[in-house]
Amino acid sequence: MKSAMAAAIVIACASAAPALAQDDPSIAIRPFVFGSVQSFTAIDTFDAVFGRAYDPFYGGGVQAVFDGKFFVELSASRFRQTGQRAFISGGQKFRLGIPLTATIVPFEVTGGYRFHFSPRVRPYVAAGVGSYRYKETSTFNDPSEDVDVRHAGFVVNGGAEFRAHRWVGIGADIEYSHIPGILGSGGVSLQAGEKDLGGVSARLKLIVGR
């Protein structure tokens, strides 16, 4: 996934054409893929289990852009990482060598506005809501001890889209998500007093369409 995306970005940049964004269609449907690195708000929780509090998400979606300004975006992504079950005490984190795999699958709907400061660079802001599925499994678990829940959250982001080609854009943005209701009631997140599954992520999007 990573290598495919990088290759696409390189190709897009290499074939960069003059600005061709002036003639925005009234409605543009634009699929995209993205990769992001999220710094989780629940720093101690993720650090205890995975040894770090940041990790990549990969996903994709589709944008509907109206007159080149307003847009609605649907996206889905996925985080999956294996760490170790852990214990936190007195600020110390102890990893216990028992594999644990966590999966987060966000489905997000956002709406936003694209600014027209430059024909090749379109800053944008957006906000929306998401539905976040969270799964957690561990070695030695009984099935009843696995976690598979879904909870709503909200998201805001802002960044800029760079037109690399008439049909290809590259977006870079910062996104903040807040996902309550999944962490904080048990596990190391309860020990750490952390309740938010969200965080701040830096995203890189490859957009196909005008």
Partner: protein, 552 residues
């Protein structure tokens, strides 16, 4: 064979206000003569239990060290863990090798077919370790050339020891969910040393020659036996048959004699306690132990009746200075867990008046020292619930347990019966922090006792008229070992010590964190929340070792 002893139930040996024996007559002989020659123990298969007593080698079971396990394991979307980098595939027989390789490559760019392993009708397809083996297996299974494909899911032994008395007598180990804890940690704390501060331990086979003087006990005059040979054997279930596992004994020391004599157990209490912590397991003999591969450090701080008669100690029991020195010795010699199945009654306010009469600041300082050196200290909660102390009233405070409750990294342990009720003798108070199986003599018959291998007291307690008629008084034998049932918080304590040792091996090494983990993973019983009977609840080995996930 059913035998009961006559003394009242009291599991924790007395420390400060030591029980002084009525020893009259000749001055005890100054010391033992010990030869390093001894016959193997006589092992009895009988189970003997008593409310009166104070206080296998594993055949390459499972070896995965925890870090290695984590590295070599991946949890699939199915929830099962598997070995990354390989997929098991059964091709239809008629599919040629070249086509098999092509099919594998269609499922994964990195796939390659390894040489077929012996005793297999399937192939192993090797893939990149970072690939999702379940996804590759699913892709392969969808091909018409393939009968089935699956990741190499992990199997683990569900550890149910084959020790014969485990299934019939040891209700106590399943009660704290040890079977599933052993699945998590099959190594049984093999790298951790637990110090047992007690009456000593039957860890060596010796021949002892001693002058046994006359004495008076229970109103009876016992005659002098003069120079006598006392056979002494190591407990095979601690050190193996013929001492095959003797290397697990670390830095044994007799505090009372300051190392002049080895810390031999002339009572049976310390050997029994040691058995609960680490009796050899899965060897088809006797009982199981909690952390069955643990290293044991016998530190003798309590003298027994025979120690007094043999001239090893001035009185039965121990004293604060002996216990404090024992704690420091254990900490200085590498013990990561210190088991103290001992105690003494005292005033309830030593926390605020540590220098008042009856308090033990010497021991408190030693416990703090040990915790500071990285040793986790486990103390019996006391057996005095039904007692009325002339100085401290009913259900008196157990001094050592009270000290432990004030130190992060030390815990006090109450006792429960097979139905998780508070054992009738188990002291209660704000100082109780955890509960563990201590057994009971009320209502469960022999099924209420805690069984481990130790001396058959009918061969050792020849001074006790309720065990051996005075007319048959003879020199004791310490070479006959049986499966003995005892009750008390002395028996509850080593359960916690064994689990703590497993926690250390699992990666929680800080004493305060061990206490935190044990308390947070305990199963709350009795009044919801912490209470004075069970503390934070019944210790749960599996919960403790398993730790926590992100959200559960």
């Amino acid at each position: 064979m059913v035998r009961f002893r006559g003394r009242t139930a009291a599991a924790a040996a007395v420390v400060a206000a030591a029980l002084v024996l009525t020893v009259k007559g000749q001055t005890p002989a100054p010391s033992l003569h010990i030869e390093n020659i001894g016959l193997s123990a006589v092992e009895e298969n009988t189970a003997i239990w008593s409310e009166a007593r104070p206080g296998g080698r594993v055949d390459a079971l499972k070896r995965a060290a925890r870090e290695t396990a984590a590295r070599n394991s991946r949890v699939g979307a199915s929830g099962r863990s598997y070995t990354p980098g390989r997929v098991i595939v059964r091709f239809h027989d008629e599919v040629p090798a070249a086509e098999r390789r092509t099919v594998a490559r269609l499922a994964s760019d990195t796939a390659d077919i390894a040489a077929r392993p012996s005793y297999a009708d399937f192939d192993i397809v090797r893939i990149d370790v970072n690939e999702d083996a379940e996804a590759v297996a699913a892709a392969l299974a969808a091909r018409p050339q393939v009968v089935y494909a699956q990741p190499a899911y992990h199997m683990h032994a569900t550890m149910v020891p084959n020790d014969p008395n485990y299934a019939t007598l040891q209700w106590n180990l399943p009660l704290v969910d040890l079977e599933r804890a052993w699945d998590i940690q099959p190594a049984g704390a093999s790298t951790v040393t637990v110090a047992v501060l007690d009456t000593g331990m039957a860890y060596r086979s010796l021949t002892i020659t001693v002058n046994i003087p006359g004495f008076r006990n229970a109103g009876i005059n016992y005659p002098a036996l003069g120079p006598s040979v006392v056979p002494y054997a190591a407990a095979p279930q601690l050190v193996g048959v013929n001492g095959a596992n003797a290397s697990r004994i670390v830095a044994p020391f007799d505090i009372i004699s300051n190392g002049v004599v080895p810390p031999l157990d002339f009572e049976g209490h310390g050997t029994h306690v040691s058995g609960t912590i680490g009796q050899l397991t899965n060897d088809n003999i006797g009982e199981a132990g909690v952390a069955f591969n643990v290293k044991l450090m016998p530190v003798k701080v309590l003298a027994s009746f025979w120690d007094v008669i043999f001239g090893n100690a001035p009185f039965e029991g121990g004293s604060d200075d002996d216990v404090a020195r024992g704690i420091r010795y254990a900490a200085d010699n590498g013990a990561k867990v210190i088991n103290m199945s001992l105690g003494s009654s005292g005033p309830p306010d030593c926390a605020t008046n540590p220098n008042r009469d009856g308090c033990s600041p010497t021991i408190e300082a030693a416990v703090r020292y040990a915790v500071g050196k990285g040793a986790f200290v486990v103390v019996a909660g006391g057996n005095e619930f039904e007692d009325v102390d002339p100085d401290f009233g009913p259900n008196p405070t157990s001094i050592l347990a009270e000290i432990a409750s004030r130190i992060n990294g030390a815990v006090s342990v109450a006792a429960v019966d097979p139905q998780k009720n508070r054992a009738f003798y188990s002291s209660t108070g704000s100082y109780i922090e955890l509960a563990a199986p201590g057994g009971t003599s009320r209502g469960f018959g022999r099924g209420g006792f805690i069984f481990q291998q130790t001396f058959d007291f009918t061969f050792t307690d020849t001074f006790d008229p309720t065990v051996v008629p005075p007319s048959q008084y003879r020199a004791p034998r310490f070479d006959v070992l049986a499966n003995i049932g005892i009750i008390g918080t002395s028996m509850a304590t080593p359960h916690v010590s064994g689990i703590a040792a497993m926690l250390v091996q699992q990666g929680i090494t800080d004493p305060a964190a061990i206490e935190d983990a044990l308390e947070k993973s305990a199963v709350d019983i009795g009044t919801p929340g912490r209470d004075n009977s069970f503390g934070f609840g019944l210790v749960d080995a599996r919960n403790a070792l398993r730790g926590l996930g992100l959200s559960r």
